[in-house]
């Protein structure tokens, strides 16, 4: 069994002062080394993370969720992480499900484990979001040629080697599709694990609108041209 501190939980956060405290409280600091990447938030996100006793990395300017995630992953790899879990700051994910994500990695059955709300469960998911995510799955199957049930789920776990090998250029939301592309390119062994995603009024207001999916698809496709 790996030493607990070698499991890093990377949390990209932007303007999450209202929700980050609860998210960090749900994570056991004795089990995981938590890293919050504050993506240039103008609010108290950084101070809340700092006072929670976790690692805080602050982008001096806002660069997007994908950029923040990559910063956290790079930091975790440089610090000697054996396993890296990516986790949302807004309380949509359930920290009690982290062991289930890590299990296939610890058993050597996968290089990267993807959380799936469609084989797990969702709470209060609007139908428009359901439809958008299903279209995203179809898009990914056509473009990236990878058969997954959930494409834009930020709840994942990966080994150190897989994390170090990922080449991510997408700074904004298209990074989720780019990670799937990278899994295919690098021929990483992947598994999907059921997870729970909880939607609330707060997270829906702050999250991406369903129309933003078009912009994300465009960013992903154009980013592929300029690798």
């Amino acid at each position: 069994m790996t030493h607990p501190s070698a499991i890093y939980v990377v949390i990209p956060a932007y303007k999450e002062a209202a929700r980050l405290g609860l998210t960090l409280a749900s994570l056991d600091k004795n089990l995981y080394t938590v890293v919050v990447v504050d993506d240039g938030s103008p609010d108290a996100t950084r101070a809340i993370a700092y006072n929670a006793g976790v690692w805080v990395i602050r982008h001096p300017i806002n660069r997007g969720q994908g950029a923040a995630l990559k910063t956290g992953i790079d930091f975790a790899v440089a610090q000697g992480a054996d396993y890296i879990v990516t986790f949302d700051a807004d309380g949509q994910h359930d920290a009690r499900e982290i062991p289930a994500l890590l299990q296939p990695l610890l058993e050597g059955r996968a290089d990267i484990v993807l959380g799936s709300r469609f084989i797990g469960k969702t709470i209060n998911m609007p139908w428009s979001r359901y439809l958008t995510l299903k279209l995203a799955v179809l898009f990914t199957r056509i473009v990236s040629q990878i058969h997954v049930s959930d494409t834009h789920n930020g709840f994942r776990a990966m080994t150190r080697d897989a994390a170090a090998a990922l080449v991510l250029h997408q700074d904004r939301m298209a990074h989720a599709s780019e990670i799937l592309d990278e899994i295919q390119r690098l021929k990483l062994r992947y598994l999907e694990v059921p997870v729970t995603i909880r939607y609330s009024q707060d997270t829906m207001e702050k999250g991406q609108s369903s129309l933003a999916a078009v912009r994300i698809a465009w960013q992903f496709l154009i980013g592929r041209l300029f690798k």
Binding site: Y50, N51, V54, I57, R63, A67, L225, F226
Partner: protein
Amino acid sequence: MNAFQYLASTLLFLILAYDLYRSRQRLLRGFVLLRVSVWLYAIAAICAPLTFVQPFATFLGIARAADLVTYLFALLFIASSFYFYGRCLRLERDITALTRSIAISQASHRFHRPDPDIGNDHH
């Protein structure tokens, strides 16, 4: 020549003169010569399109010189859009890489690497 030809050729001539003045120290360099040639050809094409554009249009199988100019501009627009989009994207990536490097070098932790800029809340 019509009024547009007079106006456009005068404007292009002034631009050419300014360009020559700015580049007077390095007139014989390849890129400056190319630029000067483009200005001169543009002036010639506007003043005498039948002499300087129509033969190319006929050679390429396009009936009118005006159509050739339209097609060329359409192609140039697409090419330059991609070029500048690509440059912009690469610049964005460089900014992200720089931001990341600065951020990681300044990583802080309340117990392991305190940040003097943030007041500790012990409650």
